[in-house]
Symmetry: D3
């Protein structure tokens, strides 16, 4: 069996988060799997709104479109609840696994209903939509926010307490399995698992395993119908205007 | 009653299409309504795939973010089935109406089931998803493609024949009302209506009327929950790389 | 643009309520719109049950069937959650907008989930059914009763407190936008809006705007399928028995 | 076990149809069951549209409200797909079974999916709505029209051919059991059954059996929530205007 | 009308429970109905898990397959939420009614939403699945567990209190009618009914009435599609291994 | 990374089919994975009905309950559309993957809609139910039968033609990815893939990959709620009657 080379795309421009995600991906990967992280050259520093999510989707597509590193066998998209997976499926010729759907697919195998615990409450709707369109929304009992932003997750005590409280709410809503609705939180997974006695699925690990599985089976995205190659046409990926890039509040 | 100023955003970079959309919007607008077209400075020349759609969503958000024209009271997003409406709702302080949902909202008032006829078959799934998330998918009997690309619509005889055939399929699936699933086709509307004897809703006109209605009632997007203002944070809307823009196949 | 003449039908026989509804409709109407109120000659003095609702539906159809005033361009049916809209669509040749569906259509444009606050708890189910069949139930987070009857709404302090409490429950269930599930409450709309910081949609205003929109676009009910003209046949709209009419508890 | 006295309400004013329905009901009834037919004093001569259906619902409620015959233990409402059952549930103190839902309840016990064959195509949507709200829409594979009006059913050869063709379409859509979507067609039931080899459920018979069952178990409609007694209030069941009744095209 | 002979199958091997079920069935049965109880020769002593449920399904099929008593006209399957009804429908030539679906079918006729109160919490999911597949899940407001095992129901005071508490939770979730989600609890039915003022449906009684109804109407399971006779083929219903049978923890 | 030991359970007693399944599983397995086949000691020689399916479920549970071979890390249940997975999840302490759900989970990652092609038409409903309860029914466009029985699959020309025809029907219903709804058909997978140009997912391979993934991530079935260990109690897994086992038509 040949090795599997996975590119994991961060959904934001924060390189530390890419590194954390790559660490998680490597911890999950089988012995023959190589993981490369890809940080978009532009986009939001963290994705926590629909605006961020569409911005991120385009920046990730641009990163893959202009990628010129070594070949790869699969893409893992590591933005929980973020948009873009269908576009990437059109763009590349290898299987694409988004961590949102990946976590849900595995969670469905572990209990009759699963729940998602995520960062800000405002992200819950976006995650629900993502699960629904991925075809795995039916057995989702609840998506619960912790009130913490992605960049607040550094304080591990506070993070842990907030996730435990949210997880408890998901359990009361019927969840028998939990999904961590955020990339880059591998440590948290075991803590929640131990405290609550429920299996906890991390999307990055789940996506790596699904990507390995698809590659191992020789399967890739269908070109019939929805995810055909984009039509050849004029597309401008960046504006002609010359004012410089840079951080901006919209 | 004060005048209503509507910005209509094209989802692609083709200015002729913006002009066509603006003509349709003005034909639908009330006497006190002013319509301004906005063409994104970048993005696809037509949007016909998920890749195009995410690219378009970000380009449209960027166009509105950097817009410095006269003030406006509402935004109409004129990309049928394209992404981005939630992001624009977060971004601006005025009501936002997407032509996909607009057409469906009005169609629901005119018959028990409606159908959508659109351009390429590959767009059908994207439209279905858009209607579903907008909350108006239930009474959609069918979304039917004509096999024509957005930029092929110039040949009016062929376009008309293809739309009539697709409309007939939608009717057989139970549609009592038709939605034209494409911007910039105002002429086609009356033809299909006459030939098939079904009301035909054009999304641009529908959205203009809904925008006028919301402005007239003093209503705008809720900031509670999903569509709160995006968090202030670093966001790069264009890459630091200096290679020039231009048409490119992904 | 020609003027729009809207007939607004009250669902009950209480003329004060018709007047209140007409005031609300006129406040929402555009400058070129004329609003006429129509009070059924028979039916319930307020509609708060399925029995009332079917009685109301027939009385409203009878009122429109025997209407001999000046011509009109659209009908607005001002009974929140009440039956009859499909029958009226069959009966008249102009567009028909029911305030239940109208409020929901606009609410869908203002947030990801909306909630309805209404009078008696017993009406909640009827409203849910009405929204579902109108095709806009998906994004309804909750329909919440206040425990107040239609004719108890005179006491504005108590009404306001009850609606605020119900609105808070709807918000906790996920509503980002509120719909006032009762005609004739225009004043309440701003109060709830101010106290809770959520957009509040009043059905009468929403329906007037949708009716203006449909008329402006030249659209009316499809005659294909469900809402064809009723077959010519014998119909008795009132009994041959000669015992007098009058108030009666069923 | 005491006898069961069932009032069967026709949904229209055609007495011959009431008699036919009563014959069907008696054929289905157990030995201890007495069946009385009730023809509304007003309403449509046949119900084939939403307008007819609401008119029928009110006329049937009026007939039961003013009924002064011997006591009864249950009501069977014999209008397939017609409105009114919730109102009648509020009105009377005995169990109420509508033939639409009754047929579907029994059909669910006889196969994984059932189909309905009815008269005019225009009635299909109304039947679908009725099944959905009754809570038995899930396993309905199709509702198929024959193109025949209620009053055309006299020609038995043509009727039979039309129903067989419609039944075949329902079977191809997955129906394993058929429901006759029209009252007063008992003879047709056996013919379709024999020709197609599928069980055929007649709504009148089904409703009689369900009514007997509910009475036998001492069960009646819940007064908690939706179907509480209507509030005492002024209701006018017939107009004060003195122009005579009579057949009229709306 | 000829007599109806019903075989009621217990889902477990506890004969006392078969007797209790038969008592309930006889109390519900009409004067011309004879009820025979059938206890599987093997299987679980009570069914409270998916493992138990599949074991029970097969043991019940085996009991009916090898049944050599007098002929019967219908089968009532008296395991609330247990599997097997589709298999029994394939196996026998008479109508088959499962108490889970039966209770729900009648409950749908008595209120807009019903709730189920059952024994262990772990059974709730299985019951929800059973109702969903039977086509009657839509109007189920809640399935609530009491925390009591089937074999703990002997303590009537504790049982009653637990069921009342669970019933109250179901009512708060919107239930207007209650279903007792457990066989052999006829006494409890009246107590809950009296205390809560809601109709309470017992599955065994409901199934007996539905079975009587189907037999009375000459209806039985469709052989077209899902429930055709099983193909003739080799099937081993018991293992060749000779180690003795007996109670075992899995 | 330690090796993964998977037990693959055939759903029937035909050892040749177990061998074929094991071959398919080994072809899909990673280098460190060991696959052992388990044939039930009793049950149907092929599973093609609900009766067979429940019989199979119990026989498979019995086989695992009495299994005394070397330890294993996961169970793959190789009966497409067959019952039992929830019972096995309760029974064993390792992750359990059913090939039906497994194929659907992977198919969801490869296209917007998938379709299933299976053997007999009568199995389609059972497969639909299985997908629905597994939480992956939403994106299933169609389940199509070929008319061939499990044991007819030996004739490869006829089998191939029948599967291609069924696959074409699934594609016309919107499937962009195909699932082979039958175990033991690895050869067929590539043929259909080549002829139709759609990815084809084989359930056995998919389940092996998912089982490897779950084991690799240290995840197993939740014991909270539905899939808790079965209560200790008396269970008889085989009848006390002494008449010999053997093939029998039910």
């Amino acid at each position: 069996m040949r090795n599997v080379r996975i590119v994991v795309t961060n959904c934001n421009t924060t390189r530390e988060m890419t590194e954390e995600i790559v660490r998680g991906a490597r911890a999950a990967a089988g012995p023959g799997t190589a993981v490369t992280g890809l940080t978009p050259a532009w986009g939001p520093e963290s994705a926590e709104s629909w605006l961020d999510s569409y911005l991120s989707a385009t920046a990730v597509m641009d990163a893959l479109r202009t990628y010129d590193g070594p070949p790869y066998d699969a893409v893992v998209m590591a933005g929980f609840g973020e948009h873009g997976r269908e576009g990437v499926r059109e763009l590349v010729d290898v299987p694409v696994v988004d961590i949102t759907e990946a976590a849900a697919h595995l969670a469905c195998l572990l209990g009759r209903r699963y729940g998602v615990v995520t960062t800000l409450e405002r992200s819950c709707g976006q995650i629900e939509d993502s699960l629904e369109l991925a075809g795995v929304g039916r057995n989702c009992a609840a998506v619960v926010g912790t009130g913490l932003g992605v960049l607040d997750l550094g304080d591990s005590g506070r993070t842990q307490a907030a996730f435990l409280a949210a997880a408890e709410r998901a359990r009361q809503a019927g969840a028998e399995v939990l999904v961590l609705g955020c990339a880059g939180m591998t440590g948290l997974q075991r803590t929640v698992e131990d405290k609550l006695g429920l299996p906890v699925v991390d999307g990055v690990g789940a996506a790596v395993k699904l990507a390995e599985g698809l590659v191992g089976l020789g399967l890739t995205t269908s070109r019939a119908g929805s995810f055909a190659k984009p039509e050849p046409k004029g597309r401008t990926w960046r504006p002609a205007r010359t004012d410089g890039p840079g951080p901006s509040v919209p």
